[in-house]
Amino acid sequence: MPILDIGYRKWSGNRSPEWLRWAVVATTGISLVWRGTWLKRFLLFASFPAIVTMFGVGLFEQSTRDETYRRMFNGFLASRNEPLGPRDRMNRVRNREPIISESADIATQRHQAWSYMLLWYFRYPQALWIVVVIGLVAPRLISYDLRSHGYLLYLSRPLSPKSYVFGKACVLFFLLAMITTFPAIAVYSFGLLLSNDPGAFFQTWDIPFRILLATAVLVLPTSAVALAFSSMTQESRFAAFGWFAVWIVGWVTYLVLTGSAMFNADDALKLHQRWLLISPYHVLGHLQEEIFGVLPDGQHQVGPWILCGAVTVVGFGIARWRVARMLKV
């Protein structure tokens, strides 16, 4: 029983524009997933690699002034003039070979060093966290609404299936930005703060843009695939299964197909290029290398870009189509 029941009252006031209503879908979705304890734990763990990357950036800045640190640091970076793939870079690290070009000036070295460290951050720990966090959150984003007919509540308001799917995708964009973009920008800012060189910003001004582009390349196709799976079933566990299956099957198949040429560098490169598109993980890794400017010369491929775009369009298209189809009586 309310303390003061005033009954029904008319309401008049200014309403937000229709084209912004997707934001309600997004904020509601974020507030719902944020209640999950495991998600918060994962986000906390996912922030640890950023600390490691910050340490690396700090080490590099120290190495610009101190020869001892410079020797320690040499093993980690490749020169732009010596195009190296991931396996070659690893070999150099193992052999303790100096792989920063001695002739490069400090500005070039700084750009290379920061780019490599951010690539490492995106390519290895955060790629794994993205798979885990999306696998935890995305399967239920649309499938729960399909099961409980919640989509009818959304779509009976000035919201199209397209903006509904966009609102749901924004939930993933937000979480993935928390895992990748914000920490990466923090790493970059930390590097600027630690640097003694007042010109550091002008030497590395493009890195924030590369971070944003790398985030987009990671986030768009992965969100599209995850939402497509979520929209295809009312059981979120099936969507989660599909999501993890795509990554694991792609990865294992790629390793099997390229594994035979492990000891022959030429064959490995050919096979890598031939079978790259099979594994989502390797496709995204390839694109990130290209975005951070560390892809060896001659290894540029159009295929991964096209695949990435196609997966994004098809994934969001399927999700939109499924939601619109549910409205049929």
Partner: protein
């Protein structure tokens, strides 16, 4: 007649089958009952009005807006209570009503204030702080009603709103509909199978059969009998009273032991009825102007034999 929905030539097909076939329909201001057997196209019509399904043909004016071109803006003026059991998993009752208000463009704080207000109106107490998936069917119906009202729409579309409500809740629900229509000038389109609900709150009735409008008429006109007369309810022995009235030259139809209907000019036959009641010692409980039964009219309209060739 002032109307909230005025649509012409509405056709919707699913895989070649007509769900709605060239429907011309005017829904007047007030409370309108949308009746029809299962599969008659009621839900399709509602979803078409809301723009949730794409129609093959049809155009018109809904709440002053060009339908279907401006259907998204029109939705801001409509409150919809779906037939399906629908809710957002994980949200509390208050949050889900607030969310619906925000989806209709209300600012966040105002949406929360308004949500509390309509939840009070819909008689949802502290349960508003529970997750909606724990609600009973009746509570969910009330919650959906609150969600439909929260943005103060001009037109409220209710698809089977009293399903799952106990008799007391149903009466309260119908009272709310009545209050909204008569005190707050809301137009209401009530799609239901429960004819009693229609009889209780509606001013106008539309009957859809096989995707076509069979009848669009005011309830008063529909219930007006072709022949005048009186409807009588007695405590018992309706048959004995009927026999006495027949002997006095009146036409009487008897249904059961307590109900009878007497044909004739009410003013003139009333005296005869009272006299027969005294002679036979049959106690009259109630005497009303005779009306057509809505159920009878509905069955007649939807029966196959009347429209076999349509």
């Amino acid at each position: 007649m002032h109307s909230v929905i005025d649509i012409a030539g509405l056709t919707k097909r699913y895989a070649g089958n007509f769900a709605l076939k060239n429907v011309d329909l005017i829904v007047p201001v007030g409370v309108t009952g949308l009746l029809g057997p299962n599969g008659s196209g009621k839900s399709t019509f509602i979803k078409a009005v809301l723009g949730l399904v794409r129609v093959d043909t049809g155009s018109g004016i809904v709440l002053g807006g060009d339908w279907p071109k401006q259907v998204k803006s029109i939705r801001d003026k409509i409150g919809y209570l779906p037939e399906d059991d629908c809710y957002i998993l994980g949200l509390q009752g208050i949050e889900s009503v607030q969310m619906m208000a925000k989806l209709s463009g209300l600012p966040s704080t105002e949406a929360l204030r308004r949500a509390h207000e309509v939840l009070d109106f819909c008689d949802i107490g502290q349960e508003r702080y529970r997750n909606v998936e724990t609600y009973s069917t009746g509570m969910r119906q009330k919650l959906k009603f609150a969600q439909a009202l929260v943005h103060d729409p001009q037109l409220i579309i209710l698809d089977e709103p009293t399903t799952g409500l106990d008799p007391t809740q149903r009466e309260e629900f119908l009272d709310r509909i009545h209050a909204l229509a008569h005190r707050f000038e809301k137009s209401i389109l009530l799609s239901t199978h429960i004819l009693h609900d229609v009889q209780q709150v509606c001013d106008h009735v539309i009957i859809l059969v096989r995707g076509q409008v069979r009848l669009s008429e005011s309830l008063a006109n529909m219930q007006r009998p072709t022949q005048s007369g009186l409807q009588i309810r007695v405590v018992r022995d309706a048959g004995r009273l009927a026999a006495s009235l027949r002997r006095r030259g009146l036409m009487v139809e008897c249904s059961g032991d307590t109900e009878l209907r007497v044909q004739g000019e009410s003013a003139s036959i009333a005296k005869t009825i009272w006299a027969a009641s005294m002679d036979e010692s049959v106690l009259i409980e109630r005497m009303d102007e005779a009306r057509n039964s809505l159920e009878h009219s509905f069955l007649e309209i939807v029966s196959e034999k009347n429209y076999a060739n349509s």
